[in-house]
Structure formats: structure tokens, C-alpha cells
Symmetry: D3
Subunit: 314 residues, 6 copies
Amino acid sequence: MNRLAKVILSASRKGNLTNIGLASTLARSMSSGGLSKYNFESLAVTSPQEFIYKVEVNRPEKRNAMNKTFWREMVECFNTIATDEDCRVVLLTGAGKTFSAGIDLQDNAELMQGAIPGSTDLDVSRIAYKLRSKIKEYQESFFVIEKCPKPVIAAVQGACLGGGLCMISGCDIRLCTEDAWFQIKETELGLAADVGVLQWLPKKTSNDSLLRELCFTARKFDSSEAKELGLISRLYPDQEAMMGGAMELAATIASKSPVAMQGTKVNLNYSRDHTVAESFEYIATWNAAHLQTEDLAKAVMASMTKSKAEFSKL
Amino acid sequence: MNRLAKVILSASRKGNLTNIGLASTLARSMSSGGLSKYNFESLAVTSPQEFIYKVEVNRPEKRNAMNKTFWREMVECFNTIATDEDCRVVLLTGAGKTFSAGIDLQDNAELMQGAIPGSTDLDVSRIAYKLRSKIKEYQESFFVIEKCPKPVIAAVQGACLGGGLCMISGCDIRLCTEDAWFQIKETELGLAADVGVLQWLPKKTSNDSLLRELCFTARKFDSSEAKELGLISRLYPDQEAMMGGAMELAATIASKSPVAMQGTKVNLNYSRDHTVAESFEYIATWNAAHLQTEDLAKAVMASMTKSKAEFSKL
Amino acid sequence: MNRLAKVILSASRKGNLTNIGLASTLARSMSSGGLSKYNFESLAVTSPQEFIYKVEVNRPEKRNAMNKTFWREMVECFNTIATDEDCRVVLLTGAGKTFSAGIDLQDNAELMQGAIPGSTDLDVSRIAYKLRSKIKEYQESFFVIEKCPKPVIAAVQGACLGGGLCMISGCDIRLCTEDAWFQIKETELGLAADVGVLQWLPKKTSNDSLLRELCFTARKFDSSEAKELGLISRLYPDQEAMMGGAMELAATIASKSPVAMQGTKVNLNYSRDHTVAESFEYIATWNAAHLQTEDLAKAVMASMTKSKAEFSKL
Amino acid sequence: MNRLAKVILSASRKGNLTNIGLASTLARSMSSGGLSKYNFESLAVTSPQEFIYKVEVNRPEKRNAMNKTFWREMVECFNTIATDEDCRVVLLTGAGKTFSAGIDLQDNAELMQGAIPGSTDLDVSRIAYKLRSKIKEYQESFFVIEKCPKPVIAAVQGACLGGGLCMISGCDIRLCTEDAWFQIKETELGLAADVGVLQWLPKKTSNDSLLRELCFTARKFDSSEAKELGLISRLYPDQEAMMGGAMELAATIASKSPVAMQGTKVNLNYSRDHTVAESFEYIATWNAAHLQTEDLAKAVMASMTKSKAEFSKL
Amino acid sequence: MNRLAKVILSASRKGNLTNIGLASTLARSMSSGGLSKYNFESLAVTSPQEFIYKVEVNRPEKRNAMNKTFWREMVECFNTIATDEDCRVVLLTGAGKTFSAGIDLQDNAELMQGAIPGSTDLDVSRIAYKLRSKIKEYQESFFVIEKCPKPVIAAVQGACLGGGLCMISGCDIRLCTEDAWFQIKETELGLAADVGVLQWLPKKTSNDSLLRELCFTARKFDSSEAKELGLISRLYPDQEAMMGGAMELAATIASKSPVAMQGTKVNLNYSRDHTVAESFEYIATWNAAHLQTEDLAKAVMASMTKSKAEFSKL
Amino acid sequence: MNRLAKVILSASRKGNLTNIGLASTLARSMSSGGLSKYNFESLAVTSPQEFIYKVEVNRPEKRNAMNKTFWREMVECFNTIATDEDCRVVLLTGAGKTFSAGIDLQDNAELMQGAIPGSTDLDVSRIAYKLRSKIKEYQESFFVIEKCPKPVIAAVQGACLGGGLCMISGCDIRLCTEDAWFQIKETELGLAADVGVLQWLPKKTSNDSLLRELCFTARKFDSSEAKELGLISRLYPDQEAMMGGAMELAATIASKSPVAMQGTKVNLNYSRDHTVAESFEYIATWNAAHLQTEDLAKAVMASMTKSKAEFSKL
């Protein structure tokens, strides 16, 4: 945590962070403990600033590889955040120098067993049945990121491989350091990626030809190619700068009406998956309730008077 | 209009406009009046050249903010254009230095009233019901752009905010000046954008992460970031150059078979919203009639003889 | 074939090709004949290396224009490849200096006849009926590329027009030489493109505004604009370099588990056309069987030991 | 009108109509004029009872055949009803002994002209273009029934052919007299039905085999076969009894919360066209606003105290 | 064939067959041979009357069980019929006393082999891959019935089990004798039905609870329960009566405009699988061409003059 | 429990229950306790026979009204059943004389509070947000029935109102006693039904006109009208007979391959919500794994030898 404190302090000093709340934030993020209802083994959850939560994959000694505990805790964590009124935006990071090495093959041996001929007496169909359940369970671990109505910002440093890439595919905003690198590793392991990358990226990126090359070949690609692909929206010289930038972004989001913010996320997801006509119909029904919010008047007033609005919790 | 005349003349002199018809065009666009059946208060509709219509949001004194008259007239205007045989392509612009400041909050107070607690005795459900109708009405004002089968080119100068950005999202081609700037302003006003930007852009742009950042933060972005996002296809040094370029583009489109052109627009829209298999099925049914057009022979002949084809009205 | 040999040899000498198998490949691709079950008139099918097939549009004297034989043979060719266990990846190229000039208007006169008023006594409805069948037949010629579960790499040199562009739109990966140029020629011929470009590209590219401009105006665009559009993922200085690069890419793909590869292609296609939730559901059902493959263990083992895995045919 | 008055009086005397409001209703329906804002030539619109509107196709001398005026007025009529707070339920009937003979071929000659070879010099494609617009216009005449959020009850006597059947297909509830008969007449006239019957009935009826037989053969079928098909829900011995029953039904609907009623119609339509999961999602968003209605408390209270609730207009 | 001749003759004598063409029909159906381009082993194809084809599953000695030849020939047969201008309607029957006993387990052993543990050394994934291809191949054998644009009438006598039931599920109209019986046999054989019954029937029948009971339990059900389920539209006392009724139905269909008929089938299929709004859009595009048919004028004229129209082939 | 015991005993004596396992079953269902991992307050879960579970809504003193505990326990119960290998089929019943009176208004006051004006100071938008979550939570309580891959049979006696009707709408098979009655009660309470009836029934029943009448009017309907509507597949003279019939049905289902059974349910659900083409694609992928089951051989063998197959757990 010390490191982040320095990052923010430093960025703050350089005047990069205009948000006045950062000073108090610092204190909080430096405090020893996380948030009481977020006690996880594989994840560290803290609140560096009011309304901003930081979820950190916290197995640096394993390069944040995803073990069974992780898959389970992700669901619990993001489902809790989904209705936690103290959180308006999430920063998703990885502890240490590697964002995530992807699935922890040893710990997930169970998943692999079906693949080893002779490892079980079970009927093929029954293995298939179990595998399908297991895959769906793992998919849920990342799908909760999308289903959580609060914006989630992924900040990637170092390597981001396999499951790591699937995880950030489900996030709203993706930032990385210049020396970050990526690998859609699944074909190298003999499987088609089934927890996100093939499902989200065809609809989120800019060059289907490049995306397919990366999926088929499993070759590594660096941050600038990731930006060219439209996977990443912003590069930062180093992790400090990135965390500073991410915090600034999060602070802006946290300062706005949560009604507006969550409506925006829900409807962006909806629009991606439906026709334009259906998306119009859906948001008209959505906003029939949400234009009645007091936030509208508060926000308009604040906008006119250049002041800061205080929005009730949501 | 004088200004446009100069723009075109100037562009023409520089040899930027190869289309020979521009001379006569000039005369028409300089003539005092607009088109007789397009008498609007908030929109000025003219025909700068045969088959090309220019629709100009015409409230420069209000930075082309969208008032109630505007929302209504847009529907009437584009529904008329949709079946007006004299129009093959539309140029959508804004009068003055600002493309559009978005919704005119004062004039649309009615829409806002629901948001102010205590402003009405009406039942929440009944307000919701009315708001939904009103939102659908406003959505229609921009959806008519997409439903009109003729290509619509937006030419953006200065600021393009909120509703302005929603409006161009529904256009086919988006051009801007280098000093143009954009803002997805809705979250700043306490609402999720409900008239286009969240509905169209996830399917029209290149970097979902960047798009979401812009939607969530409501920060301003300039023309080069707009181009990087895939929102804009072409930048021009200034408004004159842009209008020249837009006219040239429009003239090329107007010179082609309207059967081909409208079929292309209808099917691009269809394909975006359906599977590839369904899109193949749809255009096969569409072209079953339209390959029988005389335009095919005319166009092929013209292409072979390097001459200009004259196509009947459609 | 000699030319390709040189290309590869040269690339190989420069150390660009790391894949050790290329030496033997050379011999094969230099051998006179194609593959025995692929005897086509308009297509030349060879196997330059184990598991890699090269399909070459082979009418260089007609700039690889697509005649009736071509439309029929494409279906036969790719349907055969779909279940040919000796093929894991396809390289699609054009013989000579032009990738493809598109539809061969003379040879396809039949398709055009309906367009010439007075050319037939048939009822409009009956012509429409036949045209629809014919269009669907032609669509199938390119749709087989997508339905074939093996990755297909298009390598484009020189001109790629009309039907040529539709054909590559259906491929997985698109490469080209720097001097390649493209044209969505259909509107110039008086029709809306009905064999792929309007169906695939809205979902595969990055800038809808630019795509529409190119569709409407039928103007030529060069390789760098093609890359900007997200149509092409990689440019090469010349055809030799491109073929070298394409072979290297193909070799990487061919070296991986075909179970992983085909699952990846099938699911990328599926995800593009369905919601994220449906795509998760589909791949869970797909992988319920395919995670039971022996390839998983082989691949993981190879990955750990940095050795090369041998996968059974599929 | 006299006739209906008798029907209702008679039914009322027999005690069939329990709703106490019918007495005053009588006076209103017997009054000479219709509703002031519903001045139509082909339709007679009256309000036989508070919140109940009766829309009567009113060309008995032409067996209520649908002429051009009719197609236009239907759109205007139902779009007005959609937001008319005085209307909560619509009774759709036909004046005289025949419900409707369907399209008025003479009056719609325009639509037919395209079908007569040599009747025009226009290009096939241009005719197709116009026909498509015209068909969409006619479709809208019946689609407005579905889009109007108030329940629409069709009461059918005598013949109900072609367009007449399409019209009732778009209604919510269909009643008929025992001597009513039906005919999906379009194939007999050389066309596929394009204004409703093929679009709605596959999703509203019970026996696809029977439906297809009726569509293909255009044979007449009587009321009991219509009931077996699931097209009709209730038969009445004669028109008097039917109108009495329809009024009773309408009165029940009119007595309930309009918030509940319109939400029910909108969501039944939505569910028919979407997956169960999407339908759940949609109504959750819908009811997020509408469960906040005061009607809920009023209705629950009334239900508990066996009293009649008064609901505000909607 | 003799048998059918007697059936028709007999029905004709009883005055059941009003269609005057049946006399000549008789002669044709009694003639020795089938249609020259329909030479199949498992199917007998004849034309009992102009424009009517009869396709008979022709393995009576095996109770019309479906062997490998059958699966292949169905595709060939119906694809040929799809574009055979001499056919406007198809009668699908089974030779002998049993309509069809379903899949021929012995002959399809290949399909079963994967199910027998230890029967192969192949990788699970590779077997899955092959099975999926095989299933798709078999599905195509029945899907061609739906894709063929001509109405297909199934006439069922005796037993109709498993694959037999799947086959008729894909037909347009289903008739049977009173002593016919049915069985969705697949669960009894340890599998979920994958060639039609689970895919078509939820959208074609009337009682989901009953359908599921029949699918889960695999119990036999008789003709009257089949009618109650909405699977069958008409029962006949015996096979003669049924064939007479089927011929009469076919003759009515054959006498009508093929443009109207095929448009009706294509659009009924489309509507079942799309929203009402999309179905309106599709038929508007379809009829844009097909309302230009000369058949419209011919049919209207014939309808007015009570004469019989002659329609050109389609 | 005693009651059920008598029912089964009695049915068994009459020879209605052919399944030999029923004797031992009796003992189990008469035993005092339920299944150890199913300890619920509002539900009683027992296993009356091997592989058959009975879930009984167990608040007879409240006419099985649905309280908050119930909504939560349903999710837990069916999610556990979904992967409980000892369960192959579920019988869903209500304790006492009433199947279910629907939502327990008193206990769910929380849900109602938003509806009472002035009952809270919360912002409309924030209430909407909470209501949407709450509705989704309640929907899940019934959606788990559909998502559970094991067939669920509802056996209804007495009244089945509101939420009760929604609950059975999500079941696979619906049986009832002759004196059962139903009511879609929601409009009477001032709301549109949001937990199932409007979502499932339009796709499961036979007469859209009748369904809408019942939804709009909230009138009671008896068992025979429920059968006519296609809601119920079977009526029984009394509860004993019904429970006997239900057990017999359940026993048949339990005796079959669970691979076949669950595949059948999953695919019936899928087909209802997708096009026929997509449903074919899905089951081909599904059966690619599941045709490899050993159950296929076991079942075929048992079928041939008229013996009973023993299937491994799933």
C-alpha cells in the first residue's frame, strides 16, 4: 500500500491530480486494513477515497495466478460491490509486478483432469456435464464485473495473460503501463478461451483481423499494439503514473451522479447486445423512472454554478 | 449562405472540387430562399446542388441548442426528405461557429420538471409514463436520420455537445474541423444519455474503453481524439475546407445510382443489427427486386465508357 | 510456384522465418502438382507445408475476375477443406499481380440480364425469384470461408475490388502489400453489394463513418487507409515479404492444437453474432466436450517443457 | 347506434351486465354524435361508457372494405387513442352485417397497378421502392393497434376476410358470433398476406398445421374452427349477445388500474418477441417505476374492502 | 401405386374430390414409373397430378426406418424439388402400413459407435467433432423440407416414431389416420432428440406441458391426443380417405399462384423466428418485388369471374 | 405426509402405479424427516422414491402464501437440486387444500412501501433502483425452476393465484385436480405481473386472446378452461388421484437416462427462445458430447431386451 501512497502523493505534487479529495484519500489508503465486509484471501479490497474501491488481485508470489479461491471470491466481491452504496467506481489491479499470469494450472487441476485420458472412470457425458458447470462457474467470476452496475477500471502493469486478459475484457475501461504486455494464451494450452476474451473482444476492439491473429497464434503483444487494437485506451510511462491517472479518472466518475453513472453502464452493455431500435426502447423505459431523480436538478444547478454537487447514496 | 458560397468558390478555385456541376450549384445556394416545402423555424433547408440538400440547424444565437420546435421539425424534415425524389444525399450542419450546444435546457423545462421534487402532484407512475413518451418522441428526432434511406453527412465545427453528439451519431458520415471539440455531456447533467450516443456509438467506434471513459467522465475531447475513437473519419483545417470537402463527397454520392445508394444504406444499417447469416438473407431478398433496375445497365455502361450516367429519380 | 519458393527461401535466409519446418516445405511447394482431390479450373490448391493449404485464385490473365466456374468451385473447395484432416490453416491468395478484379461481368452476364429492360419476357416476380436464388448461391461461395472451421488468411497484392473485397471480408486474417489498393466498387456499378462487404465489415472494422464513405463513394483506397479502417492488420513492403510473413503466421497456427484452433474460430464467429451472455453459454457447451481432448495435456506439457507437441489429426 | 342501445339494454335487463355504470352508458351511446376529436370518414368513434371507446369501421354499404381513407384514418385514430386519457379500453367492430370484406380493391387500385404488366414505364426497382413504402404504410394501420397500450377487443360478426382478418390479428382479444366466418383470402388474390395475418398468427394460435392449411388454401372457416385454432376466445349466439359480452369485458378492464393494464399489454407484446430472460429483465425495469404508483395501494385497499377503486387518469 | 389409384378413384366416386383434374391425375399416378430426375433408393417420387409431387419413404420391409441412404437422398430430393418448376406442392408419405419407425439403428451403427465405451481409440474431442458434423448432416435431411419453398403435406398412417416424428415436424401440414400413433422415442434410447422434434414443436403446438410430458416419458400417444396437442390438423377414418383428403388439399394449393404460395411459406417460417416488427419489415421487402407479379391480376380476374387462372411456372 | 402415503397406497392398490419401486418408496415418504441438506422453513423437501424429490410449499396455515423466507429458500432449494445427483425429477406441490394464494402481502410489505406516497423520503430514482433489484430477486425464485435441468412437475389443487400461477408457469409439466381454480390476480392489485405469468405463458399456451382476457380481467377460471388454454395438460378427479398420477409420471421420468432427460429439458427451453436454425446448431454442439454417453448403449440394449436399464448418477 505504501507504494500506492507514494504514487498518489507524487502525482499530486506534480499537480496532475486536481481533485481536492486526494489528500484525505491518502490517509485512508495508507491505513493498514481493508474494508471490513470484504475479507478475502485472493483479493485485497480497500477504499483509497470516498466512493472509490480498489480491488487488487493479491497473490503476487504466484504472479496473481487465478486459483480456486480467486474464482469464488470474485463472485462474492463484485456481487457485494454491486449493491454497496459506498462504492461508485472500482479500480481493478494486480499486486506486484505482474498484473496476472492467468489461470493457476496446478490449483485448477480438477478442471484439467478431464483432459487427461484415463484419469477417471466417468462417462464422457458425465464429465462433459460437470465441465460445463465448472466453466459456467468460472465465467461468472468475470461476468459479475459486467453485471455490477458501477464502472470498473482495469489498470494493468507487467504481464497480463490468459485469464488475466479475459478478466480485463469484462471491465469498462482498460489502462496500462507502457511496458505491459499481453498474451491470449489459451490456444497454446490446447483450448479455446472460454471465460471472456472470445466473447467480449470481438465487440470491443477495432480490427477483427488483428484480434484473430492474436487469438490464433497466442503470440505476445505489447502495450502499443494493445492500444492499436482498441483494447487499451491509455498508456502511462510507469505504474505510478498509471495509478495516478486511474485515481484521477475514478475521482471524476465518483464525483458524478451515481444514477447517471449506473444508467450509463447498464445501457452501454445493453446497446452492445441489441439492435439500435431495441436499445432506444430500453433506455426510454429506464429513464422513465430515472429522469425523476433529484440528481438531475442538483447536477444542472452545480453545472450552472460551477459548484460541486452532493448526491445521495445509491 | 454567403459564407458557404465563398467556401465553395474558394475551394473550387483551389481545384479541390473536381465536380463540374459546382458552378451552377453556387448560384442556387446563393439564392435567397430555401426549398418551398421545407419551411422550418429551427432548420434551414437548401439545395446547394442538384440532388444535394443541406439541412442546417439554424439557431446560431442559441449556439444551435435544441428546443421543442427543433425536436418536432427534425421528424417532419427527414420524413419528407425520405421520399423526396429531388434529394439523394443530405449535408447536416449547424449555423454559426458552434455545431450544437445540445439540448436547450430552458426551452425543454417541461422535460426537466419531473426531476424537480415537489414540482407536481402527479403519481410517479404517471410521470414515468409521460416521460417515456416524451423520450421516445425525442429519440425519433434523430432516429429519422437513420431511417431516411439517403446518406446523411454531418459536418461539425466548433462545439458539439450532448444532443449534438447524439444527432451526429445517427448520421452516416461524420466530418469535422480540426478545432472542433466534443463532449458527451449527459452524466454531467445527472442522466444517462437517451437519444443516441449510448445506442449507436458502441457499434460505430473502435475502442470501447475510450468510449466508456468519455461517456462516464463527460470530459471534452478534441477532433484528433474523435478520429482516434473512430467517431470522425476526416479532419479539415477549417470550416471552409470542410464544407468544400463535404460538398465534394456529397456530389460524388449524388452522381451515383440512387437505387444502389439507398440499398447500401438500408443494408449497412440492417447488417449492424443482425447476424451475418440474416444479413445475407435480407439483402438477397432486397436485391431480388433491385438488381432488376435499369440503373445497373446504365452504370455499367457509364463505367465502361468513362462517361456520366443519368439516373431516373427515386 | 517458383516465385513463392524464392520468397520463402529469401525470407528464410534473412532469419525471418524461425519455423524449422520451412526447409522441407520449400520442396513441397516447388513440386509441380497440387493436391489430388482439389482439381479446379479457377483455383489452384497446394500444400506448401504440412497442415497448411494454399488456395490461389488462378485466372491471372483475367486479373482473377470471378467467373461462374469460380463461384461454384469455391463452395466445393472450402467444403472439402472443412473436413480435410490434412489442413489446419488456409492461405488465400491471387495469382499474378492483381489479387482480384471482382466479378467477371462478361461471364456472369446471366446475372446481369435481369437488369436490362426488355431482355426477357419473364414476369418481374419470377425474375426476382431466380435472382434471389442466384444471389444466395454466390453468397455461399464466400460464406463457406467463414463456415470452414479452419483459420483462413487472405494475402492481398495489387488491386482488390468488388467481389475480391467481399471475399477477403469473410476471411479471418487479412494481410496486404503496401502497394495494394481496394475499392468497394458496387455502387459504381449501380447496385448494393450483396456478397459480403456490407454484411461483414460493419462488425469487423473500426470507423463506421469511413466505412460508409468508402461504400457510398466507391473510391479507391490504399493499404494504409485499409489499415486505419481496421480492414487489414499488417502491411508488407512487397509480395515476397508478405508471403513470407503469411507462411510464418500459418506455420504458427498449424503447429497448435487443431481442437483449440477450430474452437477458437467457431466461437469468435458465434460471439460476433450473439449477446455476450449467449456466447458464454455456447462456449460452455462447446468446451464441455473439447476440454476432454488429449491435446490439452499435450499442449500444457509442451508449454512447460518448451518442446513441440504433436497433435492427432482432426 | 340504436341497435347497440337495444343490445345493451336487453343484456342489462337479463342481468348479464353486472356493472352498474351501464345505465349512464346507454344515454351516452344513444346520443347523436361521436367524440369531437375523432372525426373520421371511415371510422365512427364513440364512448359507450366512461373509459371505453368503440371504434367502428363504418362503411357498411361497402361491407366495410378498406379504402385509402381507412388506412390513413386508422393510424390517426389509434395514435390519438394511445395518449387519450379518457380511454382505457377499445372495442373494435364493424358497422352492419359484415365485419369486413378486407381490402377495397377498386379504391386501392394504386397498389394493384404495379401488378399489371405494361401499366407503367417505371423501372422495376423504382416500383419496388414505392410498393415497399406503401406496404409499410398499410402495415402501420394495423400495427398501431398493437402499439396502442390500451387493450383492444375485436368483436366480429358475419364475414371477416383478408385485411379484416389481419386487423383482428393485431387486437388483444377476439370475440365472434357463432355465424361469423373467416377467410385468409390473400393467396386467392395471388399474393402473400403482408399486413398481419402471417406475422401475428404463428405466435397467437394453437395449431401450426391448421393455420398453414388456412393460409395456403384460402378456404373459408367458421367460428368453431376459429376457436379450435385459438384465433377466437369466445363465441356468442348473436351480435346482441356478443356486444353485451364485449361491453361487460370492456367494463371490467376499464374499472381496473390503467397503470396495471397498460403495463400488462406492453409486457405481453414484449414477451412474445423476446426470450424469457430478456422479458424478465424488461419488466423489472418497467416496474421499477410503475410499482411506485398510488394505484397499487388503492387497488389493494379496494380488494381488501371489496369496494371500487377510483384511479387517476393515465 | 395401384393402391393409391384405388384410394383416389374411390374417393372420387364418393364425390369427396371436387377437383376436376383428378381424373387425369389418376392415369398419371397409375403409370409405372416415377419422375426421371428423382431416382432414389429409399424414396419413391411420383407426380400424381400436375404440379403435385408425392415423396414416399419407400422401405416398407423395414417399416420405413431411416438408413444412411435415406438421410442423403432426402437432401438431394428436396433440394431438387425446391427449384423444380413442375412442383408446387409436396405430399410426404410412407409406403406400407407404417409411416416410419424412425432411425434404422443397425444401419446407422456408425452414429452409435461413439456411444459404446472402448469402441474406438479416438480422442473424446475428435469424436465430438465428428458427431457434431454427422448430426448437422442428419438435421439437414429434415431442414430441407422447411427450406424448400413449396408447401409440404405429411400424411401419416400407422406408427410414426422418433425420426419419423422429427420429419413431420418440419412439414407444413400434418394429417393422419385415426389409428395412427406417435412416439417421441429418443429419451427411451438414451438421448435428447436432435433432428427436429425439440426444435420445431415448441413453436408449432398448443400445450407446452403436454409436449414436455411426451418428450420426457417417450410414451405412445394416439391420433386424437396428437390433434389435441395441435400436432395434427385433421384425422381421417382410414388411409384411403386420408390420401383422398390430402390430394384434394394439394390440388387446391397447386391451383393457386405459386408466387403467392411460396411467399406465404417463406414468410410464415420467417415470422415464427422473428419479432412481429421484423416480420413486417421482411415481407414489405419481399412483396416489393412480388406484388409486381402478373399473377396478381390473373388471380383477381379469375376470382371476379369465378374462372380458373393459369399461372406461369415458378 | 400421511396423506400422501395414503394417496400412493391407494393408487397402488388400484393398480394405477405400475412401477414396482413404489412399495419401498412408501416407507421413505412416510418416514418422519425430509432430506438432510434441504432444511427449509417454507418448503418441505422429501424423496418419496429413488431419484424423485417432492418440494412442497409448506405454509398451509397461510394458504401457502409466499413470504420473504419463501422467495429466498426457493433459490437455494432449486440451485441445490440442480446439481444433486440423487434427484432426477421434481414434484412441486402445496401443503393443504390450497396450492398457493400467491404473494403474502403483509410479509412483503417492504415491496409495497414504495407504492404508498409519502412513505419514504427517498428519491424516486433510488426507490426505482431498489425495486428493480428486488423484482429481479423474486424473479430468480421462479427462474431457478427453469434453469434447474431436471424436469419439474407441478401438481395443483384448490386455488392457484397470482405468484402461485407464476410459479407453475416456470414448471415443465402442469397437472391439476378438477376442482382447482386459477386467477392471474395482479391487475386486480394494481400492477403488471412481473414474476413469470406474462413472461412464460405467451409461449406455452394455445389461445393468445383467451390468455390476454385472463391477464386483463383477473377473473377466476376453472380447471377445464385452464386445460383449454393449454396451461394444464391433465385433470384428475381429486388430489389423491393427481398425486398418484404425478408419481407415476415422475417414476417414468426417473427410470430413464438422466443424460437424455436433462438434455431434453435444456434444449426445449433453448428452442423456445431461439430460431429453429439456432436450435439445431445448439443441440448439435450439445449432443457432440452427450451422444458419447454409455447411457445410449444401455438404453438401446434395455429397449431391445425389454429390460430395465440402470444409469449412473448425473
